[in-house]
Amino acid sequence: MKNFNYTITDEIGIHARPAGLLAKEAKKYSSKITIHAGEKSAEATKLMALMQLGVKCGQTIEVTVEGEDEATAVEEMKAFFEQNL
């Protein structure tokens, strides 16, 4: 399992559009990608669950990646977050 922390810089947090992007990105990998925010967590491929987290700007989240392609997936996800959130 691999993981990293990321602090959201997008002004509006994880709302519909970035969540959609994130879910789409996460579906590319066979690994299970999970977003942890405080007490709650959500599978990154599940759009509803992601939005339900209600992640805001400035909040730090933990992303865990577990599966066959976790090495590449974790790097790609990092890049994705830096670019989009």
Binding site: T9, E11, I12, H15, A16, R17, A19, G20, L21, A23, K24, K46, L47, M48, M51, Q52, G54, K56
Partner: protein, 722 residues
């Protein structure tokens, strides 16, 4: 490259239209106000008793005169803002504000530089002027255009800029006025050194123009007419009307630059005895041409039309001729022969030059606000008295023009068998008849839609421009719809012409469709249509073949999948959460939603301010910003109800949540209250995607309702395949 320059020039010309559009009303105020407060005029018409100095009427007229005058006096800043608005791609209001700020800052910087270098005394006389109360360089509307174009460029570059966290408050559109302020301090300093050189250049050009005499006037008139088919005439005549290129003159102790400015300054000045022909030579020529010449051409076309066609052709020509005579808007008439008989247009251009020249020769001093129709001729010619304006020559030359145009057009049309309206084959008659619409309607919408006529025209325009996805930008000037398309190959000129246009000009990605003054209505309808209606029906459209947007390809793929796949085992129906209008999701004005990136479903436009629970289910979440609700139906479908586009940015304003996260609701329970007026004003769109976020591969959306929909009525179905 050439096409690109044309595209940019076209945009610049188009951006002039907003400030130019204010001129007629300002001209009317000033024209009526100053004419009837002028004691010479009053004495001539014996009106001293009724409206001489001291009467209430006189006071009102004085106010009118001043109100009109202030517009002409401050055109530079109006152009700065107007051009910025016209050239800015989005968030135009920010560009307008930035332009006003930049304009003040530039002139204030210049003013400071002048003071530092020894004040106005050390400058050439006439090089300085008071601009909005700032003692600055006399830059005329060029000053405004420099600001407008620069601000728009900065705006388009920076309006989405992201700044580091600590400065993020100043990011995005807020950054635009900031960067513009800084840049225009520098521009101001620079202008102090550069502008005097440019000014000398302009004076030199103005001098050449002045010395060019009658021949110069002819060339001016010829050029102006030649540029009309390209829509670039505004760019051409504006420097003559508004800057020293068109001459300078001292009026009432003030140095005035530009032909139109000179005319109106003289109009406002009670001491004017004769209007300066050196200024009106750039304007008066329009009168005989537009009031007399072109109607003569119209009559010729009517007479030469085949007898059985005369009635319908007559209607078209009559209205076009009247438009030309009354308002001086000539394109509807000119375009009826420009495309079918370019030779006639060539001759028309030569005569246009000649008209200007003759007016110059006979010292006709009639100005205009915007073009040379009867209204302007009455106000600025007849009313001012023949002694001041020599307006009688307009009529004399005009009658000759009418006869010459009539005879020449008749002769050439007959001799060369030119296909002017009513002379060609059936289709060639460029008249937009109801039967055409009906025929077209049946072809494009076999199932018989309930769309109105306006929508039908909009639909045809959309199709002619290669489909909604191919249209990058829609705007209009006085007579033409000006569009920019993404792929020029997809444009179908014939189809566009058949929408009632008198002509279509295409240069690369820039497309102009000429309709005449009713174009503003057509433009609004088209915009409404584009905002509300789904992609054009694909069956017989040319665009379909070359369709290149990913979205549509996906959709098509899905549809074929539907047909080929096994049978549906189950369907879940989702109802509309609002009273409003339903459409395919691909019409949502947002790539992410329209591209079905977040899921599939439908787009609805709420018309009443309440969002109801579409089915029995649970509120999965309400965003803090209240613009979207996650909804889990009891049948197990995850729905996202996203109200409006980009409404996340409103921070909850315009929304009121009536439910809480975790609450179970029955179908029809009010969930959100919307302030529709606020949303329409502040969000890019109130089109609201209603989507299923977690569809399995064997689940497909089937839209059940398009057009008006009531809350609770079936909106779409989720078909589950084997």
């Amino acid at each position: 490259m050439k096409d690109k320059i044309f595209g940019v020039l076209q945009r610049v010309g188009r951006s002039f239209m907003l400030p130019i559009a204010i001129l007629p009303v300002a001209g009317l105020l000033l024209g009526i106000g100053s004419s009837f407060t002028n004691t010479t005029v009053l004495e001539t018409y014996g009106l001293m008793e009724v409206m001489g100095p001291g009467t209430i009427l006189n006071a009102i007229l004085q106010v009118m005169s001043e109100a009109g005058n202030i517009v002409f006096a401050n055109l530079p800043i109006l152009f700065a803002m107007g051009v910025a608005i016209g050239m800015a791609k989005k968030e135009k209001e920010v560009a307008a504000l930035a332009a006003a700020i930049a304009f003040f800052i530039m002139h204030a910087s210049i003013s400071a530089m002048i003071t530092i270098h020894g004040g106005t005394e050390s400058m050439l006389s006439g090089a300085t002027a008071s601009v909005c109360g700032i003692t600055s360089l006399q830059m005329g509307v060029f000053g405004g255009i420099i600001v407008g174009l620069g601000v728009a460029a900065l705006h388009n570059r920076f309006y989405k800029i992201e700044l580091p966290q600590v400065l993020s408050f100043f990011g995005g559109t807020r950054f635009v006025p900031i960067i513009c302020s800084l840049v225009y301090v520098l521009v101001g300093i620079l202008m102090f050194y550069i502008w005097p050189v440019v000014q000398n250049g302009i004076y030199a050009v103005g001098d050449v123009v002045l010395k060019s005499g009658y021949f110069g006037t002819w060339v001016y008139g010829l050029m102006e007419r030649l540029l009309i088919p390209f829509g670039l005439h505004h760019v051409f005549y504006l420097p003559f009307w508004q800057t020293a290129v068109g001459g300078t003159l001292e009026v009432g102790g003030q140095l005035i630059e530009g032909a139109q400015n000179i005319y109106f300054a003289q109009l406002a000045d009670p001491n004017t005895s004769v209007f300066a022909v050196s200024a009106t030579r750039f304007m008066s020529g329009k009168f005989p041409l537009m009031i007399f010449g072109l109607p003569g051409a119209a009559l010729a076309m009517y007479k030469t039309a085949r007898p059985e066609k005369r009635k319908e052709v007559g209607g078209l020509l009559m209205s076009a001729a009247l438009t030309s005579m009354l308002t001086g808007i000539t394109e509807p008439l000119e375009f009826t022969f420009l495309f079918v008989a370019p030779l006639l247009y060539g001759i028309h251009c030569v005569f246009a030059g000649l008209a200007y020249m003759l007016m110059h020769l006979f010292e006709v001093g009639v100005g205009m606000t915007f073009s040379g129709g009867l209204i302007d001729m009455f106000l600025f010619g007849i009313l001012q008295g023949n002694a001041k304006t020599n307006w009688i020559w307009i009529v004399i030359v005009g009658i000759v023009y009418f006869v010459v145009y009539y005879l020449l057009f008749t002769l050439l049309i007959r001799k060369l068998d030119l296909k002017t309206p009513g002379r060609g084959d059936e289709e060639e008659v460029k008249l937009y008849r109801r039967s055409d619409v009906e025929a077209r309607k049946n072809v494009t919408n076999g199932n018989g839609s309930q769309a109105s006529d306006e929508d039908e025209i909009s639909a045809m325009i959309t199709q002619g421009l290669g489909g909604k996805a191919n249209i990058s930008d829609v705007d209009c000037c006085a007579t033409r719809l000006r569009c920019t398309v993404i792929d020029a190959v997809l444009v179908d000129k014939e189809l566009l012409k058949s929408t009632g246009a008198s002509g279509v000009v295409q240069k690369g990605e820039g497309v102009q469709i000429i309709y005449g003054p009713r174009v503003t209505v057509i433009k609004s309808n088209l915009e409404d249509y584009l905002a509300n209606v789904e992609e054009m029906p694909k069956d017989n459209s040319k665009a379909n073949v070359k369709e290149n947007t990913e979205t549509t390809v996906e959709v098509n793929a899905e549809k074929s999948y539907d047909k080929n796949s096994e049978k549906v085992v189950k369907s879940i129906v989702i109802s509309s959460p609002v009273n409003g209008v339903a459409a395919d999701l691909s019409t949502a004005p947002d790539e992410a939603f329209a591209g079905r990136m977040m899921g599939d479903g439908a787009a609805v436009v709420p018309e009443q301010g309440v969002v109801y629970a579409p089915e029995d289910g649970e509120i999965a979440f309400v965003f803090d910003t209240k613009h979207a609700i996650g909804f889990l139906t009891d049948s197990g479908v995850s729905l996202l109800l996203h109200i409006g586009i980009d409404t996340v940015k409103l921070d909850g304003n315009g929304f009121e949540a009536l439910v809480e996260t975790g609450q179970h609701v029955v179908k029809g329970t009010p969930m959100l209250k919307l302030d529709l007026d606020y949303l329409k004003e502040n969000a890019p769109s109130i089109v609201s995607p209603i989507i299923c976020t977690e569809l399995e591969d064997n689940q497909k959306i089937r839209l059940l309702k398009e057009g008006t929909v009531q809350a609770g009525e079936a909106l779409f179905a989720i078909d589950i395949y084997e």
